[in-house]
């Protein structure tokens, strides 16, 4: 425990030092990188050395001599600490090369400071055991990430994104604190252990308030609106940390409230599953409609949070039905997907950042042919794309398989559970198909083909600070896919508290792990055999190069290639009511057509809905009270006098 606190202290100190030494940029960057790496590795060592005795990792402080902040660690906290200590040091390595302008050195120092505060506060969120401690570190986490998003504060679009993020973070916190308030009113205690004593109807209210609040942080539709704005605005390694690690803190909150309440109502699991399905399908659909690289990755985070919630929902339904296999595999799939997603999403954001830095644009339709110019980035991005589409032999498939396994268990029941299980299986299949659709689009249009603009033609590979984290993460994706057994066991270990009624048979888990490993390795083996066969077949053959066959068209250019919009068009039109497509109408008015401009946008139905349904009416209603704020200071003093007199009257009557 002391080592763990020491590691957090090193991390915070490593963030504070740049504020003083920022004028010497290289020195600052090296010191920051070294301290952050040391801090995170020490944290990992502290965790792994106390695996057997997690209960001992508990401490409490007294704050302002009136409040106690209590922290403790259990299996669930341990599991959620892993992405923090794995992804954040890689982001620190990446940021070394990402921040290279000396005139921004103070801004860079502030960014380093807030990153490390974010890392420390996320670690403390997973360890909080007390309402007050949780609220304190949650708010520190939200505020530090807000400062990080606002790195490019001169741009209006960044300010809008930051403002939207701040708004949703505070609304989410409001809902979470409301839930805590309901609990406190029933139990009178701040500790998480007392949650179970709340009466049953209140438990439902608490869970749904907390679900909406944590869901807003996690990026559950319809409260995900800040995600697609904040992620493109932030620097790429910050997007990687936010998308890979921070939104998982929302998922952690949902799990923690669920465990602490101990409710086995069926409606909880059903609601989580439905929200998961909706987020998954609509998230991937909007990702297809968007053509800004980081925005589409942000929507994919929404989709993967949907998959995680589907696993969690199936697990909760399993607990309600007392089906240990369904509950175990559902939660295991959900937890393993948390880990897997943090790995491949960070990988994809690092790649996107490298590409955007080199080409100077974020728009997919202006790139192309980057695989030849940025080979390492291209290959690792390809690995990340195949992983996020959930395809074997990489890691995304392993967690999706566990969720399928649990969902098939749900088919044995009747009525609502069976229908939900059928819908869950079909929506997982659709989500997987649409995700590979979207990532073939991204890989095909960004990395393959020919460069569409001069910017893309002059791109080149970054230095090893940018490519090393990507390589490590790509390797991790393959390793988890080829050796799934250990990671599945880790996920089952992590969910020990989630299933009160016992554990899944270890032999069953072992068989599944071994079978998945067999399938992945067999596929890799057949593939390698075919590679050798192909080499043999080509041994004495004439191989030549030529231009792509153009069906007799003799003047091909890079502009005749398919673009992202055209590639995704049929599927987006298919989902019309949910994907609000706005296109400019191109009409021929004269005999000889003149220059024309075409624009197509896909609008997020949740964003439009909340804007038109909640924000605008609220603003018109509140606008009617504008007359109170007239600007006359004397009358404002009058307001104060009137309020004090009323309060004095009320308290003496």
């Amino acid at each position: 425990m002391n080592i763990f606190l020491l590691s957090l202290a090193i991390v915070v100190a490593g963030g504070a030092i740049p504020l003083f030494t920022h004028r010497k940029m290289m020195l600052t960057k090296w010191v920051y990188l070294a301290t952050t790496l040391i801090g995170c590795i020490t944290g990992l060592l502290a965790l792994f050395s106390s695996v057997e005795s997690l209960g001992e990792m508990a401490w409490s402080w007294s704050w302002l001599h009136a409040f106690t902040l209590a922290f403790s660690c259990d299996h669930l906290s341990f599991f959620f600490l892993l992405p923090i200590f794995i992804i954040c040091p890689l982001a620190a390595i990446y940021s070394f090369s990402y921040f290279d302008k000396t005139e921004n050195s103070l801004r860079m120092a502030v960014s380093f400071f807030c990153t490390n505060i974010l890392i420390a506060s996320m670690a403390l969120v997973t360890m909080a055991a007390n309402i007050l401690a949780f609220a304190l570190v949650w708010e520190i986490m939200s505020l530090s990430s807000y400062v990080l998003v606002m790195y490019d504060y001169e741009k209006a679009i960044t300010r809008t994104a930051g403002y939207l993020y701040f708004l949703f973070a505070q609304v989410g916190a409001l809902l979470i604190f409301a839930a805590f308030g309901v609990i406190f009113s029933h139990t009178g205690s701040m500790s998480f252990d007392q949650f179970a004593t709340v009466p049953a109807e209140a438990k439902l209210v608490v869970f749904f308030l907390a679900f909406l609040g944590f869901g807003s942080k996690a990026g559950v539709l319809p409260l995900h609106i800040w995600l697609p704005h904040a992620h493109p605005a932030a620097p790429s390694h910050i997007s990687a940390i936010m998308s890979g690690v921070m939104i998982k803190m929302g998922i952690y909150g949902i799990f923690r409230v669920y465990v602490s309440l101990g409710s086995t109502e069926l409606v909880i699991g059903q609601a989580v599953l439905v929200f998961g399905m909706v987020s998954g399908v609509l998230g991937v659909l909007y990702a297809l409609g968007k053509h800004n690289l980081k925005r589409l990755l942000a929507y994919h985070s929404v989709e993967n949070i949907g998959i995680i919630l589907m696993g969690a929902g199936i697990g909760m339904i399993g607990v309600s039905h007392d089906n240990v296999v369904m509950a175990g595999f559902g939660f295991a799939g959900s937890l393993l997907h948390v880990l897997n997603h943090s790995i491949f999403k960070s990988l994809l954001f690092f790649g996107a950042g490298a590409v955007i830095k080199e080409t100077g644009t974020g728009h997919v339709d202006q790139m192309g042919g980057l695989m030849k110019r940025m080979p390492v980035t291209g290959r690792t991005f390809l690995v990340g794309s195949v992983s996020i589409s959930g395809l074997p032999p990489f890691n995304g498939f392993i967690s999706e398989f566990l969720i399928y396994f649990a969902a098939f268990q749900g088919l044995a029941y009747t009525n609502v559970t069976m229908i939900l299980a059928i819908l869950a299986i079909i929506s997982l299949a659709v989500i997987g198909g649409l995700a590979s659709f979207c990532f073939t689009k991204v890989v095909g249009i960004v990395f393959l083909g020919e460069a569409r603009t001069a910017l893309a033609e002059e791109a080149s590979e970054g230095n090893w600070f940018l490519t090393l984290p990507m390589g490590i993460l790509a390797g991790a994706c393959l390793v988890i896919g080829l050796f799934p057994g250990n990671f599945i066991n880790l996920a089952f270990w992590g969910l020990s508290e989630l299933i009160p009624s016992g554990q899944v048979d270890k032999a069953a888990i072992g068989t599944i792990g071994a079978n998945l490993a067999l399938a992945s390795r067999l596929f890799l083996f057949i593939f390698i055999v075919l590679v050798f066969v192909r080499k043999l077949l080509y041994r004495s053959k004439v191989v030549s190069q030529g231009p792509t066959w153009g069906c007799g068209f003799t003047r091909p250019t890079a502009r005749i290639q398919y673009t992202g919009t055209s590639y995704a068009r049929s599927v987006v039109n298919f989902f019309r009511p949910f994907a609000m497509v706005r296109e400019t109408e191109v009409r021929l008015e004269k005999i000889f057509p003149g220059r024309t401009v075409y624009e197509a946008r896909v609008d997020d139905i949740a964003e439009v809905g909340i804007h038109r349904g909640v924000a605008l009416p609220l603003l018109t209603l509140l606008g009617k009270f504008r007359w109170i704020q007239h600007g006359n200071v004397q009358l404002y003093i009058g307001y104060i006098i009137v309020t004090i007199s009323i309060l004095l009257l009320v308290s003496f009557i």
């Binding site: 042919g369 695989m371 390809l382 589409s389 959930g390 395809l391 074997p392 498939f397 398989f401 399928y404 396994f405 098939f408 088919l411 044995a412 069976m418 229908i419 059928i422 299986i425 079909i426 997982l428 299949a429 659709v430 997987g432 198909g433 649409l434 590979s436 659709f437 990532f439 073939t440 890989v443 095909g444 393959l448 083909g449 068989t511 599944i512 079978n515 998945l516 399938a519 067999l522 596929f523 057949i526 593939f527 075919l530 192909r534 080509y538 053959k541 030549s544 190069q545 030529g546 231009p547 792509t548 066959w549 005749i560 290639q561 398919y562 055209s566 590639y567 068009r569 049929s570 298919f574």
Partner: protein
């Protein structure tokens, strides 16, 4: 031992069957048609040639044929050909295998987009779209089979303790599944009415146009992969209609291959009798199969208590 024999026969004989489709179509057109071994001659011709690679392509272009062929071979290793226990099987292998077909599709599409040609892009976009809908249908079929047998493995479906059979409880629901699977076969293997493998007009094609730039042994690997995939889907449909009992002994193999030939004849009949759909009707076609299987899955609530 029998497992090795059946898989070797399947891998060797798979190119024989598409010749049957061509013969049936020629019969309806009043022509003699190409010889039955035409696909073997095609493979031999392609393996003799070299390749021309486009200057726009990268290593991904060469990966496409390898991954799709590897996937198609792998799925045959898990399938109980001729009712014989396959070489490998485990609970949940159906999910893994359909996702392996999915990674084959991913790399075929990526290879198509690598050529920087709008034709390949067009085919890739269509393939990705229709493939996603077909995946939904297939998983609905898996849901139906799980409701009926409680199994998630090809072996358990056809050679297990409660195999799928038209004569069992809920057997009538299998008729819906057979029709739906046939529609998925036509979609996934680029047959009329979804795609026409005979013409070479790129604007109207899906699969044909995605492989336009491949040549030589690469194209041979792609063709081989497509033969194995079509063989798998036909075997799947045939074993649902007519599960081959283990008691038949050595007769199982000729019966199996004869039955598959009949499925290919049925494909040939469909190709001769229908024209290709307009592109915007294809999603409706695929979704009809999803609706049929979904309906069958709901009906199991009544048939299987």
């Amino acid at each position: 031992m029998e497992s090795f024999l059946t898989i070797a026969l399947a891998l060797f004989l798979a190119p024989l069957f598409p010749g049957i489709i061509l013969k049936v179509k020629a019969f309806f057109a009043g022509k003699k048609g190409p010889p039955l071994f035409i696909k073997y001659y095609t493979l031999a011709k392609l393996l003799r040639k070299g390749s021309v690679y486009s200057t726009s392509t990268t290593f991904v272009f060469k990966l496409g044929p390898l991954v799709s062929c590897a996937g198609a071979i792998m799925i045959l290793l898990f399938f109980p050909l001729a009712g014989v226990t396959p070489l490998l099987a485990f609970h949940g292998d159906v999910i893994v295998l359909f996702y392996i077909l999915g990674i084959g599709r991913f790399f075929t599409i990526a290879a198509a987009l690598d050529t920087a040609s709008p034709f390949q892009g067009m085919g890739a976009a269509r393939e990705a779209f229709f493939g996603t809908l077909a995946e939904a249908s297939i998983f609905a079929v898996l849901v139906l089979f799980y409701r009926m047998t409680g199994a998630l493995s090809f072996t358990d479906y056809f050679t297990g303790t409660t195999p799928i059979s038209l004569a069992g409880t809920g057997g009538a629901l299998l008729l819906l599944a057979i029709v739906a699977l046939f529609m998925v076969l036509l979609t996934e293997n680029s047959r009329v009415p979804v795609d026409d493998p005979a013409t070479h007009l790129e604007l109207t094609m899906i699969h044909e146009v995605m492989v336009l730039d491949h040549s030589g042994p690469d194209l041979a690997l792609i063709e081989l992969g497509s033969f194995y995939k079509l063989f798998f889907y036909s075997a799947f449909i045939f074993l649902i209609i007519f599960p081959i009992d283990a008691s038949l002994g050595f007769l199982r193999i000729p019966l199996f291959f004869g039955g598959i030939a009949l499925v290919y004849v049925a494909i040939g009949l469909v190709e001769s009798g229908m024209a290709r759909f307009k592109m915007n009707l294809v999603p409706k076609f695929v979704l009809t199969s999803l609706a049929l299987v979904f309906f069958a899955a709901i009906l199991t609530m009544e048939f299987i208590k």
